[in-house]
């Protein structure tokens, strides 16, 4: 329990914060990529411990958030079919499509089930040979090995009534897209720890060199985030741009090789649309041709669904670090976790939902009230 006490005791964190204040001399914008990191930063107020010149912006690493509305509508169309048992991770159930969410479909008689592991779907498919079992395979690199194993086993064991609706995205192409944007403000990245537990960090090295940007692979605990921020600021201040690993107790440069091997035998790289952002080339996975019999998009032939996101929503700019939740006039008023208007509010790991959950909309409201008051006073 020694470690736990050291961690709970704030002195180590205080030392790191002091060191950040000591080394930082210029303003820097740093993006944390992973939604778990965003949640941890907002919950623990880590951004408020940093010097005024250091701004944390919140990246695209929440898989529920970036799943496009069209894909959610497709999932719902499949889930409504009477012959289908539709399986999903719990977090997708409350995400609204153009017409209701998976809970609504379940309450209207659809067979929608929450699963803990993708492998649960195999058990359900074997128990229901006359039904079609479809799994909503969303996620980043961390989740891909689990979903790849499901499809690989379905084929190996001959479970023909199991298919997956693939909406898999990858971190490095999204970072590249952010860096290539003319509006980009991000100068350094806290890389996603658990994604790199699978992939290692080797693939971030060419990007760091090409864009001359520090990338520090970081965990999600408060001390990790502070340490990762310090390492990033040190690089920026010294004019270095390297990949460093703050999370070496969990991962190394190579990652989990058996997982990478299975993933690349089941999936291939494909263009993917990201909610709020649009299509990013080669930014996700699709099933390989050999696995087409388990590809729900092919099996159900759901036609392309036209969707429209509210014009007011700025989640695309938030996901790229151009804006923050407070910059949105709808934040906490028209747009709340109960009635989300866009990507960053639909899951607890989205930046807007995290700001809302920890009361930051209240501050926004207060500032707005004050601003209105000041304007009224001047007029």
């Amino acid at each position: 329990m020694k470690y736990l006490d050291e961690y709970r005791d704030g002195t180590v964190a205080r030392k790191v914060v002091d060191e950040i204040h000591r080394v930082q001399t210029k303003p820097w914008v740093i993006m944390e990529v992973c939604g778990g990191q965003t949640h941890s930063i907002v919950k623990n107020g880590i951004d408020h411990l940093l010097p005024e010149g250091v701004e944390l912006v919140h990246g695209p690493g929440c898989p529920v958030c970036v799943t496009p509305l069209e894909m959610i509508d497709k999932a719902h169309a499949i889930a409504r079919r009477p012959e289908v048992i539709f399986c999903s991770f719990g977090d997708m159930l409350r995400v609204p499509g153009s017409d209701g969410d998976l809970f609504t479909i379940k309450s209207e008689g659809g067979d929608v089930r929450v699963v803990y592991s993708p492998l649960d779907c195999l058990k359900i498919a074997r128990a229901n040979p006359e039904r079609k079992v479809v799994f909503f395979a969303i996620g980043f690199e961390t989740t891909a090995p689990a979903n790849a194993m499901l499809v690989s086993r379905a084929r190996a064991e001959g479970v023909p009534n199991l298919s997956i609706l693939v909406s898999h995205v990858l971190v490095p192409p999204s970072i590249a897209a952010i860096l290539q944007s003319p509006q980009n403000r991000v100068q350094g990245f806290l890389g996603p720890g658990h994604v790199c537990a699978i992939m290692g960090y080797r693939e971030y090295e060419p990007m760091s060199a090409r864009f001359k940007v520090p990338i520090v692979i970081t965990g999600f605990e408060p001390l990790d985030i502070l340490q990762g921020t310090l390492m990033t600021i040190r690089q920026l201040e010294q004019g270095r741009a390297e990949v460093e690993n703050e999370y070496s107790r969990i991962l190394d440069r190579e990652g989990n090789l058996p997982a990478q091997k299975l993933v690349s035998s089941v999936f291939e790289i494909a263009d993917r649309k990201w909610r709020g952002v649009g299509i990013i080339p080669k930014s996700g996975y699709k099933l390989r041709w050999e696995y087409r019999e388990h590809d729900a998009e092919k099996l159900f032939n759901v036609k392309e669904i036209d969707t429209r996101e509210p014009d007011i929503c700025i989640s695309g700019q938030i996901l790229r670090g151009i804006k923050k939740p407070h910059d949105c006039p709808a934040f906490g008023t028209l747009c709340t976790p109960q009635k989300p208007l866009g990507a960053t509010m639909v899951s607890a790991e989205g930046a807007c939902a995290a700001y809302y959950a920890y009361g930051r909309h209240l501050k926004a409201e207060k500032e707005e009230r004050e601003a209105v008051h000041a304007m009224g006073g001047a007029a």
């Binding site: 939604g35 977090d91 074997r126 128990a127 040979p129 090995p145 689990a146 605990e221 899951s347």
Partner: protein
């Protein structure tokens, strides 16, 4: 949902050719697939993401990470329903 939860391997078994384990997370025990960390032994700690062990960790790290996840309310997925193996036609949802 990209976070992985540390737990202790309390039992290992074979499930249709897959190396599986029962992993204890606080008071909850769930199944996890060990195919991606095949060298794992009973009594060791692993990071588990959606029912798959992805990395081995030491006990102190496991303890710390578990606490951090609890602080972030990130343990709810462990409470998802357990799906048992069923005979065809016996699935009463």
């Amino acid at each position: 949902m990209c976070l992985a939860i540390p737990g202790k391997v309390v039992e290992t078994f074979d499930q249709r050719g897959l190396r599986m384990a029962r992993v204890q997370f606080g008071g909850i025990v769930r199944e996890a697939c060990l195919e991606y960390v095949p060298e794992t032994q009973i009594g060791e700690y692993v990071l588990v993401h959606v029912g798959f062990a992805i990395s081995r960790v030491d006990e102190a790290e496991a303890e710390r990470t578990y606490q951090a996840l609890m602080d972030l309310d990130q343990l709810t997925e462990l409470e998802s329903p357990v799906v048992e193996e069923m005979e065809p036609g016996k699935d009463r949802r």
